[in-house]
Point group: C2
Chain length 500, copies 2
């Protein structure tokens, strides 16, 4: 379905899979200010420390020379500096389908879906707590559009018992998709089983497994300055397995972070550096990404806000900090809107442009996110795909050959004439322009006759058609056969309870 | 109303009136390609010419050495080059309220409202042909928000006879607003009466009148390569009156322009250069702006598309061409959507960012435009104001003083604590963040209890309240008294018929 609608240019499909940033990264702080923010974050870690709940993680820091006091760890700047020399600048995101593989590197642009939503919503069935069915459907949506580059935990399948949930989510990602995968860091047992399933299901050799990153996880610190057990285990476990951790403090200015952009970024940066350092202590050279997802709260209600000027400024500042330390980094778009309306589109579009100008390597929550992540919207997803495809097209420069200049056509068409029938137009007619997915360009009369549907209403038919036409990739059946005995055994054993 | 909602930062209102571009302008073409596009436009004018219907305009070109043949004028590149040396790089946009005045100059950022719409639409009264009431209401909306910097002909008052329409529109702009004004170029008689009304109504001295630009007009060529009588009269009349013409070809790639971005831009550039040159031949040094409003058509229906990748690329290319010739320039946002939905917000937000990155001096159609300009949407206007205010906030860099770094607060709040009650937060609480106009940040339960209103539905109450609270500026009553006899006399004489 998605492929059918991929616009063509001179008969060739536009590549929505391999995107490189087209814009110069933009700044909100001077280089001196960025250096000072970085220094302030180092000072915070050194003098005031991080609370790290996991003894194993504290031991790694202590072995590197960090001072400890109870569960507080004071991380000297030399330890951070060392970690930043071993953290890789890029890695290969692997997939069963080599056409889906990407380099995760500064300057590359990857989009991930809205993730971590406890609820799902669409215009047909309304808003409901997420189920496995919702997860499978939204996974199929992710898989169906080339402009979504990595899988994400779109909807939480709450009808699957927590200890069994990773088996359901991994089975689906392995068998029903072929993009780089996401694994939740909910304790060592779940992580180990999830990574094992990838190797088992895809039949990977040791060499295959070691040759790149098959799965990533997102590590959220508990701002301010705290790292809990599952997150610390996740960092260590992913590092030792050679898989990618994306360290993403979620710093809400005015609540869990200072009320200023600069203050919130210092906290974000300190927490991210602590996480990055832990990964390098667990295994030097382990793939680890800088992450920033800082915004502000609504000072009236305390609710998180997205798409605000403060959010955009923090995106740009985060990009500067990531470039300062030289690592690839993850940003996010976002919306606080409760429904797929103009607010939702505006907030998401603003933050997509913010991520473009901040030159984020990975933009998560790029499609389908509503209610600040409490709900995954099917119609919102389809409309967001339109925005992502538009930005993907911006990664291709317009042609600048003599042929593109159309000098013959310009000479041929007289004043007041038109270019519809020129040879230049006729030769390029098919696929000359982006072909909209959900945007309706018809005039008001035609639109009214077609039922006067808003873009959210039109999107319903598109996700329904996408799901109806969905075909899992060819490797899925064999992978399912390989996984079945393992899943049965682990299920019989009660699964793997998440770590608190 | 608008002022009540202006967010405060450290107790001081954020200035939404005086905006300077915060971003580095972005390119889609190499500098060499831009030089080649410029050269191709010069070649087109020189070898293939423009059809210029107005004999007076042809005479001005002939006097400058241009070759003529019938109503075709072949404009040598030396004539263009001369015009570009006399065209001013900036000018002062004047207003009765000095606090509203702006420099129209490269690097400055001005927003204008959706303009030229034959219809008006809102959720209460539906879509209807525009009336004087709609024009007056939408003028009040323009006047009420600081982030709209110049007035525009939002809705066409079709219930006022065409020969009398300029008197109604100028009376309203002069008496019910205090921002730089718009005058339609619909023939010499209308233009002269409109400009006379400004001087008369505001009681301007010769010095006042000559000290800057009180009114602007938009000149649309008839692409390809044709300039009609009212437009040519407008260029000449505005130039001789020292008022500003904004030369804006409307080049739709695939219809009235070549199907390629480069080809359409060559045509746009040639037509803009011809108009700029005519203004300088009429009066060297006359204020004249480069303009670009090129997009593509939907190749299925031939309908204009907005917010597409091709539209965005043409915005960026237009900015490069404007910088190549060193003139300030006008871009536009736009939407083809038939209603105030996600498509509308997405297309408009994309093109606002496009204009920001193309460093447009003036962005017209920035609020309220629907149906590719066939309808002015009240709820769309309110939602667009939110986008404009967000972009206006981006013109202010975040603070980078030690005080902004919040080091004491960062040291004071323990791991797992919060910053709500720190002295740093309390001192900045009021006005720390942008305060949304129409975005609803409440959670799903609160939102549902409040009626589950979409942002377009919430916007209704906001425009209603804005209109209910609207107060014309203080000078309005006296201006109305000054204008009344003139309007009565011109009305008695039948007004000024528009020139075809």
């Amino acid at each position: 379905m998605a492929r059918d609608r991929t616009p063509r240019r001179k008969g060739r499909p536009v590549d929505y899979v391999h995107l490189t940033h087209p814009f110069t990264p933009q700044s909100v702080f001077s280089d001196d200010a960025i250096a000072a923010l970085h220094d302030a974050a180092l000072g915070l870690l050194e003098q005031h420390g991080m609370k790290i709940l996991l003894p194993e993680a504290r031991a790694l820091f202590a072995a590197a020379g960090a001072r400890g006091m109870g569960d507080m760890v004071f991380i000297g700047r030399d330890i951070i500096a060392n970690a930043l020399t071993t953290a890789p600048r890029q890695w290969r995101m692997r997939s069963m389908n080599s056409a889906r593989e990407r380099q995760y590197a500064p300057g590359q642009l990857l989009f991930g879906p809205g993730a971590g939503c406890p609820n799902a919503t669409d215009l047909v069935r309304g808003r409901r707590p997420g189920t496995l069915r919702d997860y499978l459907e939204t996974l199929a949506l992710q898989q169906s559009f080339d402009v979504i580059h990595i899988l994400g935990p779109s909807v939480e399948p709450q009808d699957v018992a927590a200890p069994l949930r990773p088996y359901a989510m991994m089975q689906a990602q392995i068998c029903r998709a072929d993009k780089p995968m996401f694994v939740y860091a909910r304790g060592r047992a779940q992580v180990q089983d999830s990574l094992h399933m990838i190797r088992l299901g895809l039949g990977l050799s040791e060499d295959d497994w070691a040759s790149g990153v098959w799965a990533y996880t997102v590590i959220n610190t508990n701002s301010p300055r705290q790292l809990d057990n599952p997150m610390a285990q996740g960092i260590i476990g992913f590092a030792r397995a050679g898989q990618a951790s994306i360290i993403t403090p979620f710093c809400l200015a005015g609540a869990m972070a200072p009320v200023t952009v600069a203050g919130a970024l210092i906290l974000q940066h300190a927490e991210a550096l602590a996480g990055i350092t832990l990964s390098q202590l667990a295994r030097p050279g382990a793939p680890v990404s800088y992450g920033g997802f800082s915004s502000n709260v609504d000072m009236k209600s305390g609710a998180p806000a997205f798409g605000t000027p403060e959010h955009l400024k923090m995106q740009l500042g985060s990009g500067q900090l990531a470039r300062h330390i030289g690592l690839p980094w993850r940003s996010a778009s976002g919306s606080a809107s409760n429904t797929a309306d103009m607010q939702a589109a505006q907030e998401t579009t603003h933050t997509l442009w913010g991520a473009m100008l901040a030159q984020a390597t990975l933009v998560v929550h790029a499609a389908g996110w509503l209610e600040g992540g409490l709900s995954f919207g099917y119609e919102k997803f389809i409309n967001d795909i339109e925005a992502l495809q538009t930005l993907a097209e911006m990664c291709v420069k317009p042609g600048d050959t003599l042929d593109d200049f159309a000098l013959d056509a310009l000479a041929e068409v007289p004043p007041g004439g038109h270019f519809f029938a020129t040879a230049h137009t006729m030769a390029r007619y098919d696929g000359a322009f982006y072909s909209p997915l959900v945007a309706d360009l018809s005039n008001h009369g035609q639109w009214t006759e077609s039922g006067a549907l808003r873009s959210d209403q039109r999107a319903t038919a598109i996700w329904q058609r996408t799901l109806a036409n969905f075909q899992p990739p060819a490797h899925g059946e064999q992978a399912a056969d390989r996984l079945a005995p393992f899943i049965a055994a682990r299920t019989a054993a009660g699964g793997a309870p998440p770590l608190d």
